[in-house]
């Protein structure tokens, strides 16, 4: 191990470093390997976007290529026309409405509830907190059937109430995330405000809430893109095509027994991923931090 042999005081020559230990070689190896793997991972998505610009014949003949030989943007207007006389404009309007309102509801409620759990001491707090964490593991299937029966009795099928109402209590995942965040805010600030005569509500609004911005942005991003992708619950409640979300519309639009215009299907599929990607690229830092911290501090 030792490079110097002390008994003879002679310098022992180190064996020459093999080429693959050379920093530059290692760097090239590393980037070559990781970049190839990353490209393989991205290939299906790039392929989808590329295929959405291929003319009908190229979709089958020039299948493996990402880039079309002759770009054919016509797929987009073709797909946008939708089905049954309803265009994708309607579906996007529905999805935007639902994802925006749903996000506002669940994130704002989550912030309020999180403050209660994190900063107010009350009887039963630990019990309710434990129950809330347990609800994270509940399969939707045990809740959805009775909910459906009641909402049907109320005549709320084909409305957004069954999708939005359950969000008034926030979401356990976001509540937990925001609680973790509030805990990292020093209690001294609360105490100082309290000495100044602020109530709990006042502390929440003036001390805690302004500092919650990063946590709220993270929750809002997750909420928006989960809501955008939501499928099972809308599938159950929204049956008339005028109310379809983009996810539901895409399913009907791509029905193998009906549609054969794959260019249009690819175009609408790629388009439906656009909002999610824009959010992902703009707010990547928040997403990474959100996932890392809620995963770790549990």
């Amino acid at each position: 191990m030792a490079a110097v042999d002390f008994s003879t005081r002679k310098q022992v020559t180190r064996p020459p470093t093999p080429w693959y230990r050379h920093p530059l070689a290692r760097s090239i190896l590393y980037h070559g390997l990781v970049a190839t793997a990353a490209l393989i991972m991205l290939y299906p998505i790039l392929w989808l976007v590329g295929s959405s610009f291929k003319p009908p014949d190229e979709i089958w003949t020039n299948q493996t290529a990402i880039l079309p030989i002759e770009p054919y943007p016509q797929n987009y207007p073709n797909g946008w026309a939708g089905f049954g006389g309803i265009s994708f404009a309607t579906f996007y309007r529905n999805s935007l409405f639902y994802a925006t309102l749903g996000t506002i509801l669940s994130v704002s409620a989550s912030a309020v509830v999180a403050y209660g759990f994190a900063r107010v001491r009350f009887r039963g707090r630990r019990l309710w907190f434990a129950i809330m964490l347990l609800t994270l593991m509940l399969p939707t299937q045990v809740q959805i059937i009775p909910q459906y029966i009641v909402f049907k009795q109320l005549g709320w099928l084909n409305t957004f109430y069954p999708l939005l109402l359950p969000r008034i209590g926030g979401s356990a995942f976001f509540i937990f995330m925001i609680i973790q965040f509030i805990r990292s805010i020093p209690v001294d600030l609360d105490e100082a405000a309290m000495i100044d005569g602020a109530s709990k509500v006042g502390i929440f609004l003036r001390v805690i809430l302004p500092q919650l911005t990063p946590a709220i942005i993270t929750a809002a991003i997750f909420s928006f893109y989960w809501t955008w992708d939501e499928f099972l619950v809308p599938l159950i409640y929204l049956n008339s095509p005028e109310l379809y979300l983009v996810s539901l519309a895409l399913r009907t639009f791509s029905d193998p027994s009906g549609q054969t215009d794959w260019g249009a299907i690819f175009a609408m599929s790629a388009l439906s991923l656009l909002p999610v990607f824009v959010i992902f690229i703009t707010f990547q830092r928040y997403l990474v931090e959100g996932i890392s911290t809620t995963g770790l501090k549990g």
Binding site: L42, V142, R183, K200, V201, S254, S269
Partner: protein
Amino acid sequence: MAAATLTKAKRRKRSSFGQDNLVGYLFIGPWLAAFFLFTLIPILVSLALSFTDYNVLSNSGDFIGLDNFQRMFFEDRRYARSVNATLKYVVFAVPLRLVFALGVAMLLNTWRRGVGVYRAAFYAPSIVGGSIAVAVMWREIFGNDGLVNFTLNLLGIEGPNWLGRPETAIWTLIILAAWQFGSPMLIFLAGLKNIPKHLYESAEIDGANAFQRFLRITLPMLTPIIFFNLIMQLISGFMVFTQAFIVTQGKPLDTTLFYALYVYRRAFELNEMGYASAMAWVMLMVIALLTALVFRSSSYWVHYESDEGPA
């Protein structure tokens, strides 16, 4: 969870924070109300329904005792196939996803330039993975003359009918799941960054090679995170729905008729809500049991640093 007890103990010492029941319940009120209305009561109603033959169209049902459960376990062949399909999916998809997640996280756990871009690239499939768009694309890729078979054809291989054959259909969904290892990867990555550098340095001085360092340091230090990821992935694995609904529709021969999909079919396509409720309750019990089992086993393999306690 443990952090709750920790901070609570600390806070109890602070006299200025008195108990405030009314304010506390006001703040958690929205959650509490939603919990009772949309979770607890429905779950209990669902339990009650599972002993009936409730039909939503006629809004009527009779108490039929344990008939639903008897039918499920002894008569319904599709139920058995659905359980089989789900188990097979979970057994392959969850470990695959975790292994990919850990492997890539270790590759990305470096300060080289460009790592941020790679991280985004590996995470991207997960951000779109749950979407209908990706499921539709998957159906095309594995279709009879889809991308996979087209490529195989170029290599002179005649690809099978992936979605039509019972042996292959489920694998298209397992591959789809394995492709989306982004979230556990990010969690592993954060965990890897938390492992103290000096552990590796002293191991290296002691002559441990890379594999030994992985086995003796990385894995034990990561066990709490492996544990967390395992639980989350198990639960989501058991609830897989959308992908099977779009890509394979449960076909062929029910080999991809995952549990959640079968519950949906019974409840909302065949209007057998009593039977579907019984199935959902069995699912709840299985998930609860499995989670409890993993939790129980954790004392044997999850390593917490004694001086810090579970973070």
